[in-house]
């Protein structure tokens, strides 16, 4: 299927699409897909017919919107993701029709003419779409367009923007260039534009359909879509890849790829043990896939690296391990190694402590015997006992006699006390 692409010639989007050769059937199919995306949480692809009709009516009635599509510090991969999708799609036609005022990659104008187009659109209310991050280090010299830093270009374009769409990991948080050590000081759009809602269409690159869906949503709805904590539209980012992954049954069955060339890999089993970040990554990749549903990373046997998540280069690496490594010991250790190390050290500590306890007990016992040898135990070195030593030394007798004397004394004292109490004494005693 190929469409004629000759720009915005008719008053409404619907008429322009018809002119480009998009049939009513294809357009409705496109709207049906969009409705399915917008229906948060519903991924069946079967949208309510009435909703589809309503969206189609609204979208086709859209008059030419002003769109500024900036491309800052980036690789143009996001745009490639849309343009090189494997054939001309309705999505592409829609995007081409919209992104006409200013876009570095696809616009026909150049030089002074392009800058003038940008300045004029900036003065009017417009939709601002941003690809690429904003480098702020060293006065922003790492990315300049027409003599202005990326930050200035972005701020000027954002001033009268009705809505701001940050498309791609670079625009969302800075992506690769913002990862440690971030030499250019790259940041995402929402770290510069704080007074307006920035809708983050995340991914490196995002799926073309999701970009189109986000733009179409803004064209057909008055309010911005519901966003998650990272500013991503929930209609596309409410589920993890893991939740609708076609390999999920292998995960649940415990069938994992252990190396890229093993039997499991050939069988197309789950890539969890290869460090797949699907369980940590919110994206509709398993549903839309890429390049007209041709394939997608996991489908091609490669684990997800989590490119729709913030700081994935720093937080999701090493890509081929289940858990991130633990830094700070001079070396990087895996969490499991560190954990077993902790357990080992504790066990060794316990053994050592128990050893010292035992040693202490043993020495205490020994010392006891050596310090005070007793004849009754036959200890060597004990003073010999004179069993029949005569009347001078008779301890047993002495003890008994002393105890008897003490007892007699106590009895006497008790008697004296009772007599001192007077006539009531004896009665009280009873």
């Amino acid at each position: 299927m190929s469409y004629r692409m000759d720009g915005w010639q008719e008053p409404t989007l619907g008429e322009n699409l018809a002119r480009a050769g998009v049939s009513r059937r294809d357009f409705l199919a496109f709207c049906g897909a969009l409705t399915a995306i917008f229906a948060t949480g519903a991924v069946s692809g079967k949208a309510n017919a009435a909703e589809v009709e309503a969206l189609a009516a609204e979208l086709s009635a859209v008059t030419k919107p002003n769109v500024v599509w900036l491309q800052l510090q980036e690789c143009t991969g996001c745009m490639e993701s849309v343009l090189r999708s494997g054939g001309t799609t309705v999505e592409e036609v829609v995007l081409n029709l919209l992104s006409v005022n200013y876009n570095e990659l696809v616009m026909a104008a150049a030089g002074e003419a392009a800058n003038t187009a940008l300045d004029e659109t900036n003065k009017e209310p417009h939709i601002l779409v941003v690809n690429g991050s904003v480098p702020r280090a060293d006065g922003g010299i790492y990315c300049t367009i027409g003599g202005k830093t990326a930050e200035t270009v972005l701020k000027e374009a954002a001033e009268h923007a009705t809505v701001i769409l940050a498309v791609g990991a670079c625009a969302v948080w800075g992506s690769v260039q913002a990862s440690k050590p971030n030499p250019t000081g790259a940041v995402g759009v929402d770290q510069i534009i704080k007074n307006k809602t920035v809708i983050n269409v995340s991914g490196c690159p995002p799926i073309g359909e999701v970009i189109t869906a986000a733009v179409a949503y803004l064209l057909t709805h008055d309010d911005p879509p519901k966003l998650d904590a990272e500013g991503r539209p929930l209609f596309a980012f409410d589920q993890r890849i893991h939740d609708s992954c076609p390999k999920r049954p292998h995960f649940d069955a415990g069938q994992y790829v252990r190396t890229f060339d093993d039997e499991g890999a050939r069988n197309g089993w789950c890539l969890y043990e290869m460090g797949c970040k699907g369980p940590s990554t919110f994206s509709p990749c398993p549903i839309f896939q890429w390049n007209l549903h041709t394939s997608w990373p996991i489908g091609a046997g490669h684990p997800c690296i989590g490119c729709t998540e913030k700081d994935f280069y720093d937080r999701f690496t090493p890509f081929y391990h289940v858990l991130p490594n633990v830094e700070g010991f001079g070396i990087e250790a895996s969490a499991e190694k560190l954990g077993w190390g902790l357990v080992g050290v504790t066990a060794a500590g316990v053994v050592a402590h128990a050893g010292v306890t035992a040693l202490r007990n043993a020495t205490a016992r020994k010392a006891h015997h050596e310090d005070e040898p007793l004849a009754a135990f036959g200890d060597a070195g004990a003073e010999p006992v004179e069993v029949y030593s005569g009347p001078q030394s008779k301890p047993v007798k002495a003890v008994v006699a002393q105890a008897a004397a003490e007892a007699a004394e106590a009895a006497e004292a008790a008697e004296a006390a009772s007599t001192a109490e007077g006539p009531t004494g004896p009665e009280g005693k009873e």
Binding site: T40, D252, L323, E386, V387, V396, V400, A401, A403
Partner: protein, 413 residues
Amino acid sequence: MTTLDHPDAIPAGPAGEGGYPPLTVGGAYTIGKLSSSQVMALAAAAPWDSSDPVDAAVAKALRAERPDIPIPDVGPWDVDPASPQRRYSVARTRSFDMGGGETSDLVVLRGELNAVLAKVKTTRETRAVLKRNAAHNNRAGWRPLLVATAPVGPGDQVGEFTLQGFVTIGIGARQGEVLGGPSNWSRVNVWSISLRFQHWLNVAVIFTLSCTGFLIMDPLFRSSAYEGEQTGFVMGWIRFVHFGAAFLWVVIGLTRIVSAFTSRDPHLRWPVFWPLKKKQDVRNLGQVVQHYLFIKHEAPLYLGHNPLQQLAYTGLYALCAVQMGTGFALFGLYHQSNWFWALISTPCHWFGVPLVRLFHSIIMFLIWCFVIGHVYLAVRADSLERHGGISSMINGGVWLRRGAQPVDAPEIG
């Protein structure tokens, strides 16, 4: 028979004079048919003329504890003292009261453990029990003086020697350290049934969560899948059990929080979580630490938890709370359109999911470390102090010496 008013009784200098170390008798242990007092009486069997400090000490102890039991009479020629070559003494006593109105002439062996054991016929079990008890007394600084007897028949025929038990001899004044017999101990109920129930439920749940959690982190069950065998829903079940146990764990945690505020038992209420309320508590904490580092022999006595122990448990509570928090933050990811789970999963947006998983794994290992230390210290304390700390988590009661003065409870009666 010797009585208090023995005709030869003459007042003399107190025992312990003449260079003998002052000796204390801890108690008597019986292993045969005799009572412990009778064992003590046998240990006191010595001629009136004996100058042995042990004889004197045992006689004194018998007098003090059981004045009604006479010191067995031993004729001056009926005794052969111990020597380094034969480490027990032999004495003959006549008409010893065996109980039940029965009297018997006996030869009494008294002396060092192994030397006496070599002379008697006993079962291995009896030997083991005796040795274990003797070793325990030894550890606490008491020397066991073993006592064995043999009946003397007509014509001075000496029968087989029977083990009767031992008395413990301590050197120096050892008041307050007496391990003594069961009568020296008092049982105090400390741990409520709810706490004990929570403790063992926690053990079961943490064990389950650790096993399943480890397998989620690192699925070890690998060979079967390669053989083309059916693996069913193995990871599914592991995760199901993990989540089920996690919900149960949270319920246990909540009941502990509720009981901290509603219980009338001071050992359960929230103020116990922070043990350092006074300067003295901090000093006691230091002493406990020094005790465990073998710097100090004595540590302050607590009925409940000592400050170090309580800090460890409070720390564990905090660790478990973080573990539940990170666990449910990860669990909640499955339903981000729901405001509740989105809220619970908020930490995942601060740190990123992999880092939360990392915390969750590391805390599991930290809990394992705690378990190792906890089990070791519980067994160690129960073995050395004999307070029944381990069984107290089952039956609720600990044993304290009568007269002991715990920091956190009135004197034990």
